[in-house]
Structures are given as structure tokens and as C-alpha cells.
């Protein structure tokens, strides 16, 4: 196969992989963003100052000589997004469609603006995830905030700085290139004249349109970005003052609650609401299969639901015992299953020929269970209708998509819907959809009053979507000297993220097979990357042991990616890999990989005591280019490790015939204080490389590192996640 053809296949595969991922995220086409406020209105809202705008979408490529130009029209064109406003008091307001969910981007994005605008971070205020005020954004997922929104805001801020320098140059009649911006002030070193940003723009009402890509400050020269700035509004969180969606109220607000069906895919056949309707102030709404109530108090709403007598009819649905067989069976044949994008295949060389030249081959199957996100703030929404317009506050990762969901559901133009996302009590990929928003809006419409609806934990663990379960078959061939020669990897249902191997293998066939999922499924932190790494890095470990080679040495022998090698080597060095041999009571494992611009290697130590498995130490080396906030990054990495422990060791959704069997925290175990190992983090700060996101990839190598450590100690190879929901299985 020619190089060109490989490259083409590679590109197509990647495109398809991205398309599938975007589908996973429910990606929607870019809408023409309607900037609804005209210039006078905008300044009425903000006071005077300078508003920096850009054409919708990415900034245009460099045009020689082009600079930010003033827009003389009173009405801004529809395709213009307002990104940054500098007020007459020096307050910098930045507009971004990204949502803060605990990943600390309110701070890290502010740092990047402060850096490029050369202004104190205390003067910056971010307006986030408000479909009326912020430019369109596809959503907060895929570790895209840092690489994409971060660089967008840097460009906007750098352009704004340039606008200010131009203004000062015009005022002083000097060459702009000679002026210096620092600490919110522009100075002319020749004349020692200086002017603060507020003084410079006092009395102005300017709209500046950015037309070119400005040069950005390289990470080596960062002063504000790249430093461990504390969370900007941290005090509001420790004092209990921050208002999450679930804490908000509106005048006259009612509490909503939904009657959940008896099983998935059930139809409502009858409803007797007479008893519930007798409760004072209770409004019962039935609309198709939707049944909900609204009441002035939460407890009355709950009581009303308990007084509804409903009959449901539900179809027979697969059981958990037949899950993996069902997934494989339902994916057989081209474009079966519920995946509109169909399968994606990557091929290189010939696996058949590769296997023929292999001295040893290995054929194994790995599985992963459905798991739940369990965001501590459940799905919540507060909906209010006013003169046919709908405003919804809700914790979602995709405010613009939820806006469109609402517009469709109520058959109104999306301009009539405003979705606002208060900084939210976590999501982990679980809050892409607008379920609670739709429910609250439906009830509010019927009640004629604002309605707040907060899902219960049981609803979260039943009616939210899950991380897909999956089956992964791996067939490999290796030469006696440890060189990989063949690799076949078939993923059924769990997804294509990080499905490709980073190891050098001349003959590969890698395929993602969509399937019919018995349960509602969707994105979860890292998408399928944890599953695909579990299978791949577990299999690599099996091959190393089969050959009698050290698992790290075997990996490095087949690996030339320098960034991945660097994290493997850093992790091994800091962990002391190979210093102590695994014993029956203590095992050491290693795994690694690369995804979404992040490179990770994880070493795990497990202690075994009478069938009990405890992860006692985790060391992770991580590299994501130039680090924007090292303290925030450590928090994300450490958190990903702790959360990853649950999916690795014991988390699993149990189900039968369209019902969840463990929808309570007493039954669905998530990591607690006592589960936490000693965690060490080694960050490789590559100031020479673009910054990548870090919300997901730090999680992907944990489960295989633990499974490999368990094998090293016990000789028991665990190929299913969770590994030890009921302790170590007997050898056999």
C-alpha cells in the first residue's frame, strides 16, 4: 500500500472518527450567530468603551496590512460576534460560550486574556455560556476549551491590546510600534508619557472588528498564564454563596417533578390524576408520555407524584447477562445498530500476512460495563416564560444545543429561547442534553409560572445516559525479539476515541462497530479512550509477559512517538519502575497513551490482602504542551485519577429488562476518601508546544495500569471493567 494511500485512509479515518465523536457529543451545524443587540443598545447595557468583535467562527487568516477596523454601522452585521468589551472604568468583560463545570476554565481563560491584554487579572470578568450574550459555541467537551477557546481569547485579547496601542499612537501622534502595553497602561518609552486603558477610552463608544490573526505571546514569556493563579471566585464556593442552578429562584416559582415510566421505552396507557389534583396548588401536566406536576413546595410536588396512578406498557428488553453477546450480535453487518455514521475502519498492511510472520500470537477479549457520571449536582433547570419567550437556567455542557432542543420542542424560533448556564456542580460528559430544561419548560408553560426542576439521585442513576458498555477483541502477532508485527482491534459499541495504537505495527486493522445499546448511552469523560486504553494496554502487558519481557521495555521497543516515550520514561523514573519486584501481596503495573493532545503514563501499585485489592500508590506523568495553570492542572489530573478508580475497580450499572437495579448511592459505589491512594503527579511543561486540554486524558491509563499490577502480583489477568467489584476472583 502506498504511503499516499495510507495517508489518505488515515485522514479519512480521522475525519470519520471525529465525526463519530461529534455525533457522540450531539454536534450540530454552526448556526449563523445573530448578534441581537445593536450598537447603541450594547453600550447602553455596558456603558461606553471599546467592544472588540470578530467574524463568527475562527479568526481569519493573516491579511497583510489589515488591522482591526472600526465598524461605522450602527447595526452590527449578523455574522459578527462580540468577544471582549473594555469599559470606561477599565473593567474587561469577555464573552465565551464555554461553561464552568469545575474544570477551572473561568480562571485559566481569564489568565490568557490578562496575559495578552497586559492588564491585571482582577479587572477581567467572564460572561460564560449564555446563548443571548456569548458567541455561539458547540459545547464544553472534548478537552477543547484550552486549545480552541484559549487560543481564540488570546487572539481577541491581543487584538484588543493592539486597538488600544493604535488609539494611544493616534493621540500622541507617534509610531504605534514604539509603544509598550503593560499592567493596564500604555507607555511611550521615548517621551515617558503614559495613559491607562480607562483614560484612553473614556467617552468612547467604539466597535472594533478584528480581521487578522495577531501575533501571540509565546509561552516562554508568559507572566500571568502559566502560573498557579487561585480560582478567581473561590471565596463564593467556600462560603456557600455561589448559586448553582439548583439554588436559584424566581418570583412566583413552582417546583416541578416528573413521573418516571415503569421501564425504558414504556408507553403510558392510562393515568388517574384525580387524587394528586386535589392537593392545594398542584398542577398536573400530561403530554404524550410526559407526566409531571408543579407545586409551590417541593414536598407537595413529591407527594403529588406519589398520588398519580399510571399504567405503563413496556417492551421486553435485553438483560445484563446477555449484554456483550447482544452488542456483538446487534452490530453484525454493515451499518447496523443505532449509529448513523456507521463503522470506521483503519487498515495498514495486512494483518493476515503479519500474523503469518509472527512467532507468537495472542487473541483476547476485553469488556467494559455501563457506568454513570454521578455529578454531585443532579440535572437541574429553572424555566420561565415571558410573552412567548423562554429563559432557562440549567447546568449543561451545550447551552446552544439545549436552546435549539427547546426551540424545536416548543416550535418557536431559537431567538425566542435564552439558555444560561450558572457555574455548574460538575458534568464529566454527562450533561450534554437538555432533559431537565425541557421538563421544566413544559411544566412552566402549563403552569404559567417559573418552574424549577431538580432530578433526584435515583433519576440521575436511571434516566441520564451512561458511559457505553463495550466489547473489544484484540488479535496480535509478535516476533521473538519483541517486535510487534500484527494488530487487529475490534471495538463493539464503546466508541472510536483513542482506538488507534501509538505503537509501530506494520500490519493493522482497527475497527469500531456501532451496536444497539440496551441502555441510553452517551459521552463520558474521555469517551471511549479509557475503554480502548484498557484493552490495548492490557493486551500489551499480556504480550510482554508472554515474551518474558519487561512491560515498559516492550512498549518502548515498539514506540517512536517522542512525547509518549517522554511520559513513559518520566513516570518510570519517578515511580522507581523495576526497583522492586512484584510479590503476591504487592504488584506494580504501567500503562500509557495519547489522546486529545495529551500524553500520559500511569504507574500503579496495588496491595492484596485476602482477596481485597487496594490501590496504594499512583504516579502519573502527564504532558499537554504549555501549561496554562499548573495548580489547576494538578487538581484535574488528581481528580481524574480518583474518579477513574471507580470505573476501574467497582462502578457498574446493573440492569434488567429496561430497569436499573442499582439506582441509589448505597448500591452504586463511587470512590470515597478511603479509596484514595497516594497520588504523585509529574507534569512535563512543554512551553514550546501549543496548550492542550487536560480534563480527560489523565484518566485513560489508570485502569490498565491497575489491571497490570494485579496480574503482576497474582497471575490473574482481569479483562473486564470494573476489575474487582466483589474483590479478587479466584485464579482460573
Amino acid at each position: 500500500m502506498s504511503k499516499e494511500r495510507n495517508a489518505l485512509i488515515d485522514q479519512n479515518f480521522r475525519l470519520n472518527e471525529e465525526a463519530v465523536e461529534d455525533r457522540d457529543h450531539g454536534a450540530i451545524q454552526r448556526l449563523a450567530y445573530g448578534f441581537e443587540l445593536d450598537r447603541r443598545e450594547f453600550f447602553k447595557l455596558l456603558g461606553g468603551g471599546v467592544l472588540v468583535c470578530a467574524w463568527a467562527g475562527p479568526l481569519r487568516a493573516q491579511e497583510s496590512g489589515a488591522r482591526a477596523r472600526e465598524n461605522s454601522e450602527d447595526k452590527l452585521p449578523q455574522s459578527i460576534d462580540g468577544w471582549l468589551h473594555i469599559g470606561e472604568d477599565g473593567t474587561v468583560t469577555v464573552y465565551t460560550g464555554k461553561a464552568e463545570l469545575g474544570q477551572n476554565i473561568r480562571t485559566s481563560l481569564s489568565q490568557q486574556v490578562a496575559e495578552e491584554l497586559r492588564t491585571p487579572i482582577s479587572s477581567i470578568r467572564l460572561v460564560m455560556a449564555d446563548t443571548t450574550l456569548t458567541p455561539f459555541d458547540m459545547g464544553t467537551f472534548g478537552s477543547r476549551t484550552t486549545p480552541i477557546m484559549g487560543s481564540q481569547l488570546r487572539k481577541v485579547a491581543a487584538s484588543a491590546r493592539d486597538v488600544l496601542i493604535q488609539m494611544a499612537a493616534a493621540r500622541w501622534q507617534v509610531d504605534a510600534a514604539k509603544l509598550v502595553a503593560a499592567n493596564g497602561t500604555i507607555t511611550d518609552p521615548a517621551t515617558r508619557k503614559s495613559v491607562s486603558y480607562p483614560d484612553l477610552i473614556k467617552g468612547q463608544q467604539l466597535v472594533k472588528l478584528i480581521e487578522n490573526d495577531p501575533p501571540l505571546t509565546p509561552a516562554e514569556k508568559w507572566h500571568v498564564a502559566g502560573t498557579p493563579i487561585p480560582k478567581l471566585d473561590g471565596r463564593a464556593f467556600v462560603s456557600g454563596q455561589h448559586k448553582y442552578t439548583s439554588d436559584m429562584t424566581r418570583p412566583g416559582m413552582l417546583y416541578g417533578k416528573v413521573l418516571r415510566p415503569s421501564a425504558f421505552h414504556a408507553n403510558l396507557t392510562s393515568l388517574d390524576a384525580s387524587e394528586a389534583e386535589k392537593l392545594p396548588g398542584v398542577k398536573v401536566v400530561r403530554d404524550g408520555n410526559f407526566v409531571g406536576v408543579a407545586s409551590p413546595e417541593q414536598h407537595t410536588a413529591t407527594r403529588a407524584i406519589s398520588l398519580l396512578h399510571a399504567q405503563w406498557s413496556a417492551p421486553q428488553q435485553p438483560t445484563e447477562a446477555e449484554l456483550f453477546e447482544y452488542l456483538k450480535k446487534s452490530s453484525s453487518g454493515e451499518r447496523r445498530g443505532n449509529d448513523q455514521w456507521g463503522p470506521s475502519v483503519y487498515e495498514l498492511g495486512s494483518v493476515k500476512e503479519g500474523l503469518a510472520t509472527a512467532e507468537k500470537t495472542l487473541n483476547q477479549t476485553y469488556t467494559v460495563a455501563y457506568i454513570a457520571h454521578v455529578p454531585l449536582e443532579p440535572r437541574a433547570a429553572l424555566a420561565e416564560w415571558q410573552e412567548g419567550k423562554l429563559t432557562v437556567w440549567t447546568g449543561t455542557q451545550r447551552p446552544f444545543a439545549v436552546r435549539d432542543e427547546l426551540a424545536q420542542a416548543f416550535r418557536i424560533p431559537s431567538e425566542q429561547v435564552r439558555v444560561i448556564v450558572p457555574d455548574t456542580g460538575s458534568a464529566y460528559g454527562g450533561k450534554h442534553t437538555g432533559d431537565a430544561a425541557l421538563e421544566a419548560a413544559r411544566l412552566a408553560k402549563a403552569a404559567g409560572k417559573p418552574v424549577k426542576l431538580v432530578w433526584t439521585r435515583e433519576e440521575e442513576l436511571t434516566w441520564a445516559y451512561f458511559r457505553p458498555a463495550g466489547v473489544i477483541d484484540v488479535k496480535s502477532g509478535v516476533r521473538g525479539d519483541g517486535t510487534l508485527v500484527a494488530w487487529q482491534f475490534d471495538n463493539y459499541n464503546s466508541g472510536p476515541a483513542a482506538i488507534r495504537t501509538p505503537y509501530n505495527i506494520p500490519n493493522q486493522r482497527i475497527e469500531y462497530h456501532p451496536a444497539d445499546s440496551p441502555l441510553r448511552q452517551g459521552s463520558y469523560r474521555g469517551l471511549a479512550a479509557p475503554a480502548n486504553h484498557f484493552a490495548r494496554e492490557g493486551h500489551m502487558d499480556e504480550l510482554a509477559h508472554m515474551l518474558g519481557r519487561d512491560p515498559l521495555e516492550f512498549r518502548l521497543k515498539n514506540l517512536t512517538d517522542q512525547r509518549l516515550r517522554a511520559v513513559f520514561e518520566a513516570a518510570a523514573r519517578k515511580f522507581g519502575w523495576g526497583r522492586e519486584k512484584s510479590s503476591a501481596s504487592r504488584g506494580f503495573g504501567i500503562a500509557g497513551g495519547a489522546e486529545k493532545g495529551g500524553y500520559v503514563a500511569t504507574c500503579a501499585e496495588v496491595e492484596l490482602n485476602q482477596g481485597e485489592v487496594r490501590v496504594s500508590r499512583v504516579l502519573e506523568a502527564f504532558e499537554c504542551g504549555a501549561v496554562v495553570n499548573p495548580d489547576g492542572l494538578r487538581n484535574q489530573i488528581s481528580g481524574a485519577i480518583v474518579q477513574g478508580l471507580g470505573g476501574a475497580l467497582f462502578e457498574a450499572i446493573q440492569f434488567d429488562n429496561g430497569r436499573i437495579l442499582n439506582p441509589h448511592l448505597a448500591q452504586y459505589r463511587v470512590p470515597r476518601f478511603s479509596d484514595v491512594p497516594q497520588i504523585e503527579i509529574e507534569i512535563l511543561d512543554r512551553k514550546d508546544l501549543p496548550s492542550a486540554g487536560a480534563g480527560e486524558t489523565p484518566m485513560v491509563a489508570l485502569a490498565p495500569a491497575i489491571a497490570n499490577a494485579i496480574f503482576a502480583a497474582t497471575g490473574i489477568r482481569l479483562r473486564s471493567l470494573p476489575l474487582v467489584p466483589e474483590g479478587l476472583p479466584k485464579k482460573g
Partner: protein, 155 residues
């Protein structure tokens, strides 16, 4: 029924069924929303408040059982604009991510330090086991509680 509660040093009169969980009275009637709903089954600890200095799960505590007792919520820890040492330690260690579990973590830790001013790491972990942080910020929380233990005062 009318019930008188002593919340954060003030007498508050509320109207609620006697079996209504304290959590909803605090949040809906008194607008003390720092205390959170997390599971309603006493498993996550997000609803932790102090009743007569002891941490309780307000989602499982009938409002009538708290009547006449001293109730302290996260809003009552800060005094004269000065954060409680545990709050300050959480802020300094940035012992949170999304922050949803944080108020209850702080309330639980304040109660622990009130009882035992210098707990070991093991004791902190054992006593806080009922409080969930889904973002996995546990190591920083333990560090913050240890930091606060040297300067803690009574809540």
C-alpha cells in the same frame, strides 16, 4: 405546623409539615442554599449541617427533630466577614473543583476539628468518609483540614 428554628444564631419561624426534611426548609424557606441536595438517602453528605454542634444529614432529619436546637449551616461559619479557618484552608489549598460538595465538607470538617483539634490523616479520612467529592479532590481536602487543625476555633 409552625416551628421555631435556631439557625446560625437567629430565631427563625417556619411553617412546614413536621416530617419534612430540614434540608428543604433551610433551602426553600430560609434561602440558605449553601446546604445542598445530593442524594436524599444520607449517602453523599452534601446536605451536612450541624445540630447542637454535631454533623447531621439534613436530608434525613425531620425539621421537627431540629426544633429548638442550635443549627449551624455553611452560612453561619463566617463571622464578621472573616472566613472560618476551615473555609480559609479550603480556599488556600483550593480543595475543590466544581465546589458543590464544598460547603458540607467544610461543615463536617469544622465539626471534626471542634471535637478533635488535631486529627491524624487517617482520622480525617475516617470521619469524612460519608462526604462524597465526585471531582475526586479528597487529597487536597485532607490537606486543608490538617492545615486548619492548627488554627481551628469553635464554629
Amino acid at each position: 405546623m409552625p416551628i421555631t428554628l435556631l439557625v446560625n444564631g437567629a430565631e427563625r419561624r417556619v411553617e412546614a409539615p413536621s416530617d419534612q426534611p430540614l434540608l428543604y426548609v433551610l433551602r426553600e424557606q430560609l434561602d440558605l442554599t449553601g446546604t445542598k441536595y445530593g442524594c436524599g438517602e444520607g449517602q453523599c453528605g452534601a446536605c451536612t449541617v450541624l445540630v447542637d454542634g454535631r454533623p447531621v444529614r439534613s436530608c434525613r432529619t425531620p425539621v421537627s427533630a431540629a426544633a429548638g436546637k442550635k443549627i449551624t449551616t455553611i452560612e453561619g461559619l463566617e463571622q464578621d466577614g472573616k472566613l472560618h479557618p476551615v473555609q480559609q484552608a479550603f480556599l488556600d489549598a483550593e480543595a475543590f473543583q466544581c465546589g458543590y460538595c464544598t460547603p458540607a465538607m467544610i461543615v463536617a470538617a469544622a465539626a471534626l476539628l471542634n471535637e478533635n483539634p488535631s486529627p491524624s490523616e487517617q482520622e480525617i479520612m475516617r470521619r469524612m468518609e460519608g462526604n462524597l467529592c465526585r471531582c475526586g479532590t479528597y487529597p487536597r481536602i485532607v490537606a486543608a483540614v490538617r492545615q486548619a487543625s492548627s488554627v481551628a476555633r469553635k464554629p
